[in-house]
């Protein structure tokens, strides 16, 4: 029986043995076409062979941009590493460690991406919302070229959009739905106190109501 990170490679091209995520083989989180491109890319073949969680960390630290596909449909190293993480399926704690790495923003971005793809909905919200307060800059590479975004924008994209970095993200219920199901608290913005100051000037009654609601929640 094969063990180790490459257990899935030789049998099925890229597919993984192990627990299923979202009730399917984890490798199927990424579409077949893109998966094939990743597996054929030089970065994958050179750098991503025999990676473990630790060595993957090193590679992720060397990243200089995030993105999906660029140029002639070439996958970015970010995408290759994301697929590698999916293959490795490290433990939750490791991912949380990656997410908490303040110094390496691209590692953080990678962890965030993985979380969005694999974790259950409530955890996704809980883990990605702190990223909305981080305004470090990232380079995003797309078919049009390079672009400057920030971590909070990236996190927002992960939470609201359907396709990020050319990957179709799994379905995430809306926050309201989860709030109604009592799995989540309403969002507390990092602006917090400043927000209430701003709200104090507005005349809208519904706004005031909501402000009161938020303030009471914040006070808890």
């Amino acid at each position: 029986m094969e063990t180790g990170p490459e257990r899935g490679i030789t049998l099925e091209r890229g597919l993984v043995k192990g627990p299923e995520i979202h009730s399917q083989n984890p490798a199927r989180l990424i579409e077949k076409i893109i998966r094939e491109r990743i597996l054929d890319s030089p970065y994958w073949k050179e750098q991503c062979f025999g990676l473990t969680a630790a060595t993957l960390c090193d590679r992720a630290v060397e990243l200089t941009y995030i993105g999906g596909q660029f140029g002639q449909q070439r996958p970015t190293p970010f995408l290759c590493l994301a697929f590698k993480v999916i293959q490795l399926q490290p433990e939750k704690e490791i991912i949380l460690e990656y997410l908490a790495a303040e110094d390496f923003k691209y590692l953080r971005a990678l962890a965030a991406f993985y979380i969005r793809l694999t974790f259950p909905a409530a955890d996704v919200y809980k883990l990605l919302e702190p990223l909305l307060a981080d305004y470090h800059r990232l380079k995003l590479r797309s078919m049009n070229g390079f672009r400057l975004i920030h971590i909070d924008e990236f996190a927002d994209m992960l939470l609201t959009e359907e396709r990020v970095c050319n990957i179709a993200l799994p379905r995430l219920p809306k926050r309201i739905v989860l709030e109604d199901m009592e799995e989540l608290e309403p969002r507390e913005s990092a602006l917090g106190s400043e927000l209430s100051d701003l709200e104090g000037d507005s005349d809208d009654t519904s706004e005031v109501e909501r402000k009161n609601g938020i303030n009471s929640k914040e006070g808890q």
Binding site: Y65, K139, S142, I176
Partner: protein
């Protein structure tokens, strides 16, 4: 600069027993002999241009062998033929072939040239080779390539003379170059700046070059924080709007549940009417003979969902104002210029009855009787009552 030949071209054959040169030549490196070139002027053979030339060359070669003189000098040496019989041939152009032919045929008779068919094999070293090569030269009329310096060439006058800018000196040239490069660099920088400016106007701020984007943080902490605050506020506002909309929907659902059938119907109709009004108001106007063109729903972005005005021009390169065209060109599609295409616009346009000043339908004294007789235009039995 073409290389100067200090030693003229020589045949490196060795002919033993042959007179090599007039003047005793010391052993120079490659030419131990100068075979037929060393022919003296006085020969029993008839002189022709070529052979004379060769002899002269040989002569001058022997002269020049010992000294390093310019080819110019050699040429000038050849200029004055010792015999002075015929002018030296400079190039093949000057050779008169007809003349030569005559001379050759004349010489053929006078000479014995059985052995002349032989040619130059290096191993051959016969005593007759002298005569052979001679007559052979007569036969083939080989011209020894003579180097003519550039300023003495006849052909060179046709070519354009390149003049280099010799006025500025070294320093001046350097400065000029510097200026030029600076100007170029300036222009490039300006172009880049302009590109940046336009790029920043673009919504997405997409820059093609990776080095242009700087993802180092803390370049300007205050500005970054301010930008972040703005984004965060926008996000909060977006969430609030979604909440509000949701609540409104819930409220409406509640109200509808409490209404009667009639009230619901009334409300629906009102809503429909309102929608229609909006639609007609927002609808754009079609231009004169504008083609309605739908690009199709496939391979399009989500932006097509926002389109409300389908009467806008779909094709950008279409001529917008066909009224500006001459009447003949005001046709649809590719009908212009095609056979059998008479301009038939629409019925009203082609109707000559109503609006035009057609003489048939005028109501004047001339037409009165005609109009009366035309059928179908008035009552069959008009009342003749005067009142």
């Amino acid at each position: 600069m073409p290389p100067k030949l200090t030693q003229p071209l020589k045949r490196t054959r060795y002919f033993p027993g042959k007179r090599t040169s007039r003047s005793p030549s010391p052993s120079s490196s490659s030419d131990s002999e100068s075979g037929p070139q060393g022919e003296d002027e006085p020969r029993t053979v008839k002189t022709e241009d070529v052979t004379e030339l060769i002899s002269e060359i040989g002569e001058s070669a022997s002269e020049a062998q010992n000294s390093d003189i310019d080819l110019d000098n050699q040429v000038s040496a050849r200029k004055q033929p010792p015999g002075g019989t015929k002018p030296v041939v400079r190039s093949l152009k000057e050779v008169n072939l007809n003349e030569r032919f005559k001379e050759e045929t004349a010489s053929v008779e006078s000479e014995d040239e059985e052995s002349e068919e032989e040619h130059e094999s290096v191993d051959e070293s016969e005593s007759e080779s002298d005569v052979e090569s001679e007559s052979e030269e007569e036969n083939k009329v080989l011209l020894r390539p003579v180097f003519v310096p550039r300023n003495k060439r006849a052909t060179n006058e046709a070519k354009p003379q390149f003049t280099y800018d010799t006025t500025a000196d070294d320093e001046g040239r350097k400065e000029k170059k510097k200026e030029e490069t600076l100007a170029m660099i300036e222009q490039q920088i300006r172009a880049e700046a302009a590109a940046h400016a336009t790029a920043s106007l673009h919504e997405d701020n997409i820059i093609a070059n990776a080095e242009d984007i700087d993802d180092t943080d803390d370049v300007d902490p205050l500005a970054e924080r301010a930008a972040w605050k703005l984004r965060e506020l926008k996000r909060i506002k977006r969430e609030r709007d979604e909440l509000e909309q949701r609540e409104r929907e819930l409220q409406e659902i509640e109200m509808r549940r409490n209404m009667d059938e009639n009230e619901r119907l009334k409300e629906d109709l009102a809503r429909v009417r309102q929608q229609q009004e909006e639609k007609t108001k927002n609808r754009g106007k079609m231009g004169f003979m504008q083609k309605y063109y739908h690009k199709g729903a496939f391979y399009q972005d989500m932006d097509i969902l926002n389109r409300t005005d389908y009467n806008a021009e779909a094709l950008e390169d279409d001529i917008r104002d066909k009224t500006a065209l001459p009447k003949i060109m005001q046709v649809r599609g590719d009908q212009f210029g095609k056979r059998g295409r008479s301009k038939w616009t629409h019925l009203l346009n082609e109707d000559t009855s109503q609006n035009t000043d057609s003489p048939w339908f005028r109501k004047d004294r001339v037409n009165k009787r005609t109009q009366e007789k035309l059928g179908g235009l008035h009552d069959a039995y008009p009342s003749k009552r005067k009142k």
